[in-house]
């Protein structure tokens, strides 16, 4: 049963909601923060580690956020801090997942761009992108997902990953090269 959130709370900024969560242990405010950010968090985690139990990971991310709220210094945006937690959850997950190289090999062998139904081609393209991301290192995949796919500014990506902006640029450069090479090997001309 979904809890009620009054209109006044829905108009509050993230910072105000966070303060209410911390000062008043206000779960309604946190529920609203969840509703605002869960889709983005979900998409980030999904693209970073392509997990099977995505719901569990999303829940884990927001649980960590709730527990860590008292330590959150509002010098940065709440979303930046939250995405950092999502990245941590995905990173932890990746460490326990095995590389799916055999899956990649099967996908490459089955690719055909001739006389295919457009929907199937679309699925193939999605498989290609997913496979290409899985082949990237964690560092390269992270910047590519956060910046190119999620359109998060480089400066914010740097805050999320706690690296200099220059390092973000460098990793993006190499990540794009890696993806381009993979797609070319798979027969794609970008």
């Amino acid at each position: 049963m979904v809890g009620e959130v009054n209109d006044a709370t829905e108009l509050m900024t993230d910072d105000l909601l966070v303060k209410r969560c911390v000062a008043e242990n206000d779960r309604h405010s946190f529920r609203l923060l969840y509703r605002r950010h869960q889709s983005r968090v979900r998409q980030i985690i999904y693209q970073l580690c392509d997990p099977i139990s995505l719901d569990d990971l999303v829940q884990e991310a927001f649980l960590r956020a709730w527990k860590g709220l008292p330590k959150f210094r509002q010098s940065s945006q709440f979303s930046t801090w939250l995405y950092r937690i999502a990245w941590n959850v995905a990173s932890d997950r990746r460490q326990t997942l095995a590389q799916e190289r055999s899956r990649l090999k099967n996908i490459s062998e089955s690719i055909s761009t001739q006389h295919e139904d457009p929907d199937i081609i679309q699925l193939h393209y999605q498989d290609l992108v997913r496979a290409g991301l899985s082949l990237l290192s964690e560092e390269h995949r992270s910047v590519l997902v956060l910046h190119d796919l999620e359109e998060i500014p480089q400066k914010e990506v740097a805050e999320i990953l706690k690296i200099p902006v220059g390092t973000v640029k460098s990793r993006l450069f190499h990540a794009r090269i890696g993806m381009r090479k993979f797609l070319e090997q798979a027969g794609m001309q970008i």
């Binding site: 509703r35 979900r42 999904y46 999303v58 829940q59 679309q122 999605q126 797609l183």
Partner: protein, 122 residues
């Protein structure tokens, strides 16, 4: 993403167009999350919701530490008597303590020669 090379722009466009979309969440995920939060221990919430208690305890601790430090310091560095206090002591000695070098030893039974001390000096 301004001023991107054409190659990068096309690549990013392709990736965005064909990125995987996360499957929708279970309808009960939100309530499940809130339930997990409700089950968390509340001690942390109480401490967090009352930060002034920490400040108060810290302040009391500081006061106690300062008092102890001051006492120890005074014990190790007793204040020297002022000139007025020294003069008063000298007057007392001259008025009430006889010159022992010129007096015979007192007989403990000879109470007439004993000087009565002014209790107000104590």
């Amino acid at each position: 993403m301004n001023n991107l090379p054409d190659e990068d722009a096309k690549l990013i466009d392709f990736l965005c167009h064909n990125r995987s979309i996360a499957p929708p969440e279970l309808p009960e995920l939100e309530d499940r999350l809130m339930l997990q939060i409700d089950l968390l221990p509340t001690e942390k919430a109480e401490k967090v919701s009352n930060p002034w208690r920490r400040y108060l305890m810290g302040g009391i601790g500081l006061i106690i530490a300062a008092s102890v430090s001051t006492t120890i310091f005074q014990m190790m560095n007793p204040p020297e008597p002022s000139i007025a206090e020294l003069n008063q002591l000298n007057l007392f000695l001259e008025a009430y303590l006889p010159d022992l070098s010129n007096q015979p030893e007192l007989d403990t039974g000879d109470r007439e020669n004993l000087v009565e001390l002014d209790p107000d000096l104590f």
